[in-house]
Symmetry: C3
């Protein structure tokens, strides 16, 4: 198996995992088959479409390579028909979702750096690639995006994208190090899930004084 | 009347119809005049702006040709002032909306194919062109997009875009066949409305057993 | 101080002000630190990212110049930690927000005209640059965008963008006139706030007749 085949397989795994998360949310909202496939498509490919638009890779990969859309659609349709069984797989899905987060962070940041985006911008683009699909999923299902509310999620992606930018600056963006960066995001996310870590929430002052 | 004049007229008809649907939704949400015009603009032109961004036709036609923005704005403003009368035209609006759906599907798919997007991606882009405005309208008015919930709508667009892609592959993308494809979308949508067809909805298992 | 330094400072001031408005909305929704920074980022830079995508300035300035993202992130984080004190600054924030509105309208319209977008399209793009961040902020916090509901806000931006387009057509787009255009938007917005001006809202007919 060549490197590019390995990368494609890894990429499509990420697409499938995020499609499954989007489809699950859509099923819970009682959307129809088309709605489930559509939300799955957005969750799986929305982040990458945004990334490709801002780095001027047009048409975006999601439209240029049919395997991306097909993977997302088939996965989402499978969730639609199989979801009662999938409920028992919740932990598996969370773990795969963390793996997808790591992967999309690394590929998104790298693609932006390769398109000559400066380091800070590339980190933001990498993070948005990883969390963009989840944002789209929550907007479509009329929720305040969960990524903005709960747990260490985007922060894990941001850490990973900074590591990738540093590797790139040191000219060490080799397969081994990149896999380590993806694994770092994956690990942070899993530990955060396990320990229920969250970013701090601002305290809103309660009304004070007697009688109020 | 030349072919391109006919195409422009057809396109602007689609813009007007979708602007009217967006403006109606905004009036129902008690938005002000500007809000009504803005939602009408998004409903009429949002799908096309997205299409032009992903096929790198910049600036998008909605900004490059003033007649598009003007048609959308004038129509939406007219709905704002005339809407009590329009309520009686609900059936007419639904029929025109179905016509717009067929038209935007065909032009969206064709433009993507002409921009060298592969067939599967072009079908998705064609469908998104047709349903994108309605999605934007519902996001702005804080609704779960109706296109994801009810009836055969996006599916009709998808069928039409596949037909256009097949015609293109067979080198038969001539006016007559394209009109037939638009008419097919129109027809599917009307029949779905008439018979209240819907895509299937996943069954959520009710709690079972006595006492629970 | 050179002109371009002055422009950059003015631009970054606008970014900071809009980031503060986004962060305040996110704090009120109980988002975590990351969510507050993210919504601040979208509010400050969303309009500009959209503008740069439609005029094909890629990567957008928000990603190409680290000072933009840094200003937005630092401001939003400051609001997160300082917000109880900021509550007393509400009037100040509204005034600064009006200043940002004027600034972004002028720079957005000018950039679109410089990118050869025709006048009508450039006005729409200028207005969207100015109001786009606020739209994104409200979508992320699951509100019907306030810009669509209340007061003269987008209309002030639209007036300013038309003035800029006219100056450009007359070849008088010089610093003095542009500042005047920004001041005009600022002034309209302040007067609207002061007098509680609003765009008209469509009347929904109440049910009529006795007993209903």
């Amino acid at each position: 198996m060549t490197t590019s085949t390995a990368l494609l397989l890894a990429d499509l795994t990420g697409v499938a995992v995020f499609a499954a998360s989007g489809a699950s949310a859509a099923v819970a909202k009682r959307l129809d088959l088309f709605g489930v496939v559509f939300v799955g498509f957005v969750a799986a490919l929305g982040g990458g479409i945004f990334r490709d638009l801002v780095i001027d890779e047009v048409p975006p990969l999601a439209f240029a390579d049919w395997r991306y859309a097909a993977t997302a659609a088939v996965t989402a349709a499978a969730v639609f028909w199989l979801h009662p069984q999938l409920a028992r797989l919740r932990t598996t899905v969370l773990v795969l979702d963390a793996a997808g987060l790591g992967l999309f962070t690394v590929t998104g940041t790298l693609k932006a750096l390769d398109a000559q985006v400066p380091a800070v911008g590339a980190c933001v683009i990498g993070m948005l690639t990883a969390i963009g699909g989840g944002l789209g999923r929550d907007l479509l299902t009329a929720e305040i995006p969960v990524v903005l509310r709960r747990e260490i999620y985007a922060v894990a992606a941001l850490v990973g994208s900074v590591v990738v930018a540093m590797l790139h600056a040191l000219d060490r963006a080799e397969a081994g190090w990149l896999i380590a960066a993806a694994a770092l995001v994956f690990g942070i996310r899993l530990v955060a899930l396990r320990r229920r870590w969250s970013a701090p929430v601002a305290t809103l002052r309660p009304p004070r004084g007697p009688g109020l």
